[in-house]
């Protein structure tokens, strides 16, 4: 948190965004042949691809739950997705993110319908520029819908944060590095319930309330983009395709 770095110029953020403005988001549905559901998502310079397999028999057997399906999200960063090459395979950070995303998705998937099954959600981060867990969860929700997995709702994620004493939406790379707080959340848009919530940094209670409100607003914007992408695939004629 280097105070010499300026994160605002002429009242705008470094990339020209307003405080409550998201980075550009692009979602493609059904981009993979083998997967049962898939999604490619660009969120600013983040690039994420997700494949869903299942419900299928959970392996190894001792992981099976006789009453419901387990949701097995695996968040993985490609070795070339970051500045310094990342050693392949899971590390502590990716295993924690896999866990919180799995828990958030479990909340909306009708897991009781598939006892002993696993629903495998493979999230690959191809290019990372701050906010990959929100991008990954958002893309995972779309891939689950594409796979026809029954869900109560299509969950969606977005972050807010604090830079130079201002609460802003969806931190970019520099803002994440030199800002003073990051608050990624995921919600069920239909109910507004909060499925994922993490915070690092320093916020007063008032700033936290403001950031949470802003992140929720962001979630609803992203939710619309999700739904449009799904519709485009399943009702292509409505878009003149």
């Amino acid at each position: 948190m280097n105070s010499d770095i300026k994160l605002f110029e002429n009242g705008k953020r470094l990339d020209g965004r307003k405080n409550d403005e998201l980075r550009k988001i692009k979602i493609e549905v059904g981009v993979l042949h083998r997967a049962e559901g898939s999604c490619y998502l660009e969120w600013g310079d983040n690039k994420v691809i997700v494949a869903v397999y299942g419900p299928r028999e959970a392996i190894p057997r001792h992981t099976q739950n006789p009453l419901r399906a387990i949701v097995n999200a695996k968040y993985n960063m490609a070795a070339f997705s970051v500045g310094d090459r990342k050693r392949p395979g899971p590390d502590r950070r990716s295993r924690e993110i896999s866990k919180v995303i799995s828990e958030a998705l479990e909340n909306v998937i009708l897991v009781e319908k598939f006892p002993r099954a696993s629903i495998d959600v493979n999230i690959e981060v191809l290019d990372a520029e701050a906010g990959t867990r929100c991008a990954g969860l958002t893309a995972a929700a779309v891939a689950l819908a594409d796979a026809g997995i029954p869900m109560k709702d299509i969950p969606v994620a977005c972050a807010a944060g604090k830079i130079e004493n201002q609460v802003v939406l969806d931190l970019g790379k520099e803002e994440d590095n030199y800002g003073s707080a990051d608050l990624p959340i995921a919600i069920s848009p239909r109910t507004g319930e909060i499925l994922l919530l993490q915070m690092d940094g320093h916020l007063t209670v008032e700033e936290f309330d403001k950031a949470l409100d802003l992140a929720i607003k962001g979630c609803y914007i992203v939710s619309d983009i999700q739904k449009k992408a799904i519709l485009e695939k399943y009702q292509p004629n409505s878009e003149g395709k």
Partner: protein
């Protein structure tokens, strides 16, 4: 996680409907907390924390090593947690699993992101030699709410840590430079009721968990939601309030126990 027969769940839910908990606590009340410092002679700093029957030991070791290339003037902190099979019939030996990793990550972030350790004062030769601070969490007895016990043990151990400068021929030993630490408080929800500092049984039936670290100024310094349930906005705001109240009390106890 332990499987609790549904009869036990029914019992706890019924109690909760009457506004009660199995051990007589109020919903927003912690169990008794004991903090004992300097319990390990080989460590640079150490503390044993009991929250009810949960017991966690934290030990701090320091060494000289290389800084990270992107922070050449800063010391390095490394946190590890072991859920050793000593502490619970359900913990297995072997490499750390998801729960131990999440525990270490939450403790680590609580200290790292709040900049409790003044790492910029732990440089010996820029780009070459800095102090490494190893925080090792050893769970001894697991009866619920490891996050808070582990965080508190780590903080108490840090507060009593002496930088072993003499051993490395770098002058006299001195206290590890620290800022005011935030205090972590964990709540869980089951059947619509939110309780602070869950016991093992309460954890076993919890649908959703929220850990909040707050500081002396009443600011929020970290948050981590867990489990597959959900919160609404009101619940989160209430948990912030009870976390602030408990956090203040625990902070006092921490300073007193560390002799500060």
């Amino acid at each position: 996680m332990t499987i609790i027969p549904s009869i036990k769940r029914d019992f706890l839910v019924k109690l909760a409907e009457d506004g009660k908990r199995a051990d007589g606590r109020k919903f927003d009340e912690f169990r008794n907390i004991e903090i004992e410092v300097n319990v390990i002679s080989k460590a640079e700093g150490s503390a044993k924390v009991k929250i009810g029957n949960t017991q966690v030991l934290a030990g701090i070791k320091m060494d000289i090593g290389e800084p990270y290339p992107d922070t050449p003037d800063s010391g390095v902190m490394i946190t590890a947690a072991e859920l050793i099979p000593l502490a619970s019939p359900d913990f297995e030996s072997g490499p750390p699993r998801e729960n131990a990793i999440e525990l270490a990550r939450v403790v680590d972030r609580g200290i790292r992101e709040s900049e409790v350790i003044e790492v910029d004062k732990l440089c010996v030769v820029p780009s070459e030699k800095v102090w490494l601070v190893f925080i090792d969490i050893h769970v001894l007895d697991y009866d619920g709410n490891l996050f808070d016990a582990a965080s508190l043990a780590a903080l108490a151990a840090l507060l009593t840590t002496k930088v072993p400068a003499e051993r490395f021929e770098l002058g006299e030993d001195y206290p590890l430079p620290l800022k005011e630490p935030p205090i972590s408080c964990t709540s869980v929800k089951y059947n619509g009721v939110v309780v602070m500092d869950p016991s093992l049984d309460e954890e076993a039936i919890a649908e959703v968990r929220l850990t909040i670290a707050t500081d002396k100024n009443g600011d929020i310094r970290a948050m981590q939601k867990g489990l597959n349930g959900s919160f609404n906005l009101d619940e989160i705001k209430k948990i912030i309030k009870t976390s602030l109240d408990n956090g203040r009390k625990i902070q006092e106890l921490l300073y007193k126990s560390a002799g500060k």
